[in-house]
């Protein structure tokens, strides 16, 4: 027996015998049909039926806009797998884009916008806005707020980075979007996928696909977008600032944090409840020490299930005929702008805070950019940029504080926009 790797052994390529035979078979199978068709005078019926069948295939309904979206989907999958950029989001969303852009004709309950289709049913968790809070539950059950508790003032960077939300809110209005739409677009700058989806489900469902794809794209592109801005806005000396290691945080503090956090943030911004309520619940389940069983399910089985469903339906919602519009293009532009402003906001605010801090307590402004959230990518960017200037200056643990504060900050901002605009 020959070694199976040798290509002359791959039948079906070298010798086409079986393939030819198969084609013959197909033709033969057509034979009885054609005879039957002729005998019953229904020759036309067969051709007509084939014609009708063909009319419903994706091939017959093909248009280049679908191809364009399929390419986008493939790029998402490629970036997720090859570059490992947010793969847990980009792979399902990318595959969802493929699913949503196989052309079809209405009436067979296939499309995500068609009442009663499976995708439509699974999409209802997005439309009704309850997938994002369940994702926040899982994120809460994964997140360690220690760094933030041990150095509370770094939280302010997570507030400053929300500047991008409000600036792009204004710009979006300026370029012609309605106030509600502008709010939903602005939230892209919050760098928080679930928050963006939740807000757009409430304020501008018609833009949700574009907003979600923009938000996740830029979250994946954080390592590309942020560094130039960070470098532009900092001096060499600032980039080398060393910060003190955070102190050890007690268990009691960790347990009290989600409780205080909930009461404080939602008393001021009740509309942020669905997101922050679940985030802090998840965190309490994690930190209580007596509900590990629940926290484990929240951060694994439940989070993963919802992530798959959310990803694939958000991807599928980018059906080319609804998605490829001038609005979508503008949303992408505004989203990028929003991210940049947010990054700048965090960095600059760190510099402003330094004016008031005495030597030795100063903040390295490179961690300001982590305030946009995009957990934990933007914190890692702070670390990497920091290391490129001083190989022994590890900023990661410091950057995590504004990073998780950014999640809280954008949820609060989302609550306010909801309150004002919904």
């Amino acid at each position: 027996m020959k070694f199976y790797l040798k290509s002359n052994n791959i039948e079906g390529m070298k010798n086409f015998r079986y393939k030819i035979g198969f084609l013959a078979l197909l033709l033969i199978s057509l034979f009885p049909i054609s005879i039957f068709a002729q005998s019953s005078g229904s020759e036309n019926l067969v051709i007509e039926s084939l014609q009708k069948f063909w009319n419903n295939t994706g091939l017959a309904n093909f248009e280049f806009k679908y191809l364009a979206m399929i390419v986008v989907g493939l790029v998402f999958i490629y970036l997720g797998i090859a570059h490992k950029w947010e793969p847990l989001l980009l792979v399902p969303i990318g595959f969802g884009i493929l699913i949503g852009n196989v052309p079809f004709t209405d009436g067979f309950r296939i499309g995500i916008y068609e009442q009663g289709s499976v995708m439509n049913i699974l999409y209802s968790g997005v439309v009704q806005g309850w997938y994002p809070p369940l994702i926040f539950l899982g994120i809460g059950a994964m997140t360690d707020f220690s760094s933030l508790i041990s150095n509370p003032k770094l939280m302010m960077l997570g507030a400053a980075a929300q500047l991008g939300i409000f600036v792009s809110f204004i710009i979006a209005y300026a370029v012609g979007f309605s106030p509600a739409q502008s709010g939903a677009i602005g939230i892209i700058g919050g760098a928080d996928g679930p928050t963006a989806i939740f807000i757009s489900s409430r304020l501008a469902p018609e833009l949700m696909g574009a907003i979600a794809v923009a938000a996740y794209s830029y979250m994946a592109l954080v390592p590309v977008i942020q560094p130039p801005i960070m470098k532009l806005l900092t001096t060499n000396k600032e980039r080398k600032i060393r910060m003190k290691p955070p102190r050890q945080v007690t268990k009691l503090e960790k347990i009290i944090f989600p409780i205080i956090g909930l009461l404080l943030t939602t008393f001021i911004s009740p509309s942020a409840m669905p997101l922050l309520g679940m985030l802090f619940l998840g965190n309490l389940l994690k930190e209580s020490g007596v509900t590990e069983r629940l926290a484990d399910t929240a951060r694994n089985a439940l989070l993963n299930s919802i992530t798959i469903l959310l990803g694939v339906t958000v991807g599928a919602s980018t059906q080319a005929d609804r998605f490829l519009t001038v609005d979508s293009l503008m949303i992408f532009g505004l989203g990028a702008f929003s991210f940049m402003i947010a990054t700048a906001g965090g960095v600059l605010f760190a510099k402003i805070m330094n004016l008031f801090l005495k030597e030795g307590n100063k903040i390295n402004p490179l961690i300001g950019s982590a305030g946009v959230s995009a957990v934990p990518d933007s914190a890692r960017v702070s670390q990497d940029v920091g290391l490129s200037y001083d190989k022994s200056n590890h900023l990661l643990m410091h950057a995590m504080a504004p990073n998780v504060a950014g999640v809280i900050g954008s949820a609060v901002a989302a609550g306010i926009l909801l309150g004002i605009l919904s």
């Binding site: 302010m156 106030p179 290691p245 404080l264 900050g409 901002a413 004002i420």
Partner: protein
């Protein structure tokens, strides 16, 4: 039910301004609360340290990275602690998936016998 009926630039800018201010205010109050909390916690901790007779000044100059390492070890230790009962003695639950070179085939009906 809207808070504001936004019809003009003035109203939009007002909304944006209120928004950013509230975000800052909320997080600022959180900062204040936890700085306060921190002081209390540290005072209690210091008292305990004093009581336990450890000389704080002596351990004052442990380099930061050593502290980080110790903390991390402690953290991992403590973290694994409260799970100790759930996974004892488990090495790994091997998923039995099918592969052509593997005769333990997968499937709905034989993942568990």
């Amino acid at each position: 039910m809207k808070l504001l009926m936004i019809n003009s630039w003035e109203e939009l800018l007002t909304a944006a301004a209120i928004g950013i201010m509230v975000v800052f205010s909320v997080l600022f109050v959180l900062v204040l609360l936890f700085e306060l909390f921190q002081v209390i916690v540290l005072k209690v901790a210091k008292k305990k340290v004093v009581k336990s007779g450890i000389d704080v000044d002596k351990i004052k100059d442990i380099p930061a990275n050593e502290i980080a390492a110790i903390s991390m070890a402690l953290y991992l230790y403590l973290d694994s602690m409260h799970d100790e009962e759930s996974n004892v003695l488990t090495i790994k639950r091997i998923e039995r998936r099918y592969s052509p070179w593997n005769s333990k085939i997968y499937g709905l009906n034989n993942l568990h016998r």
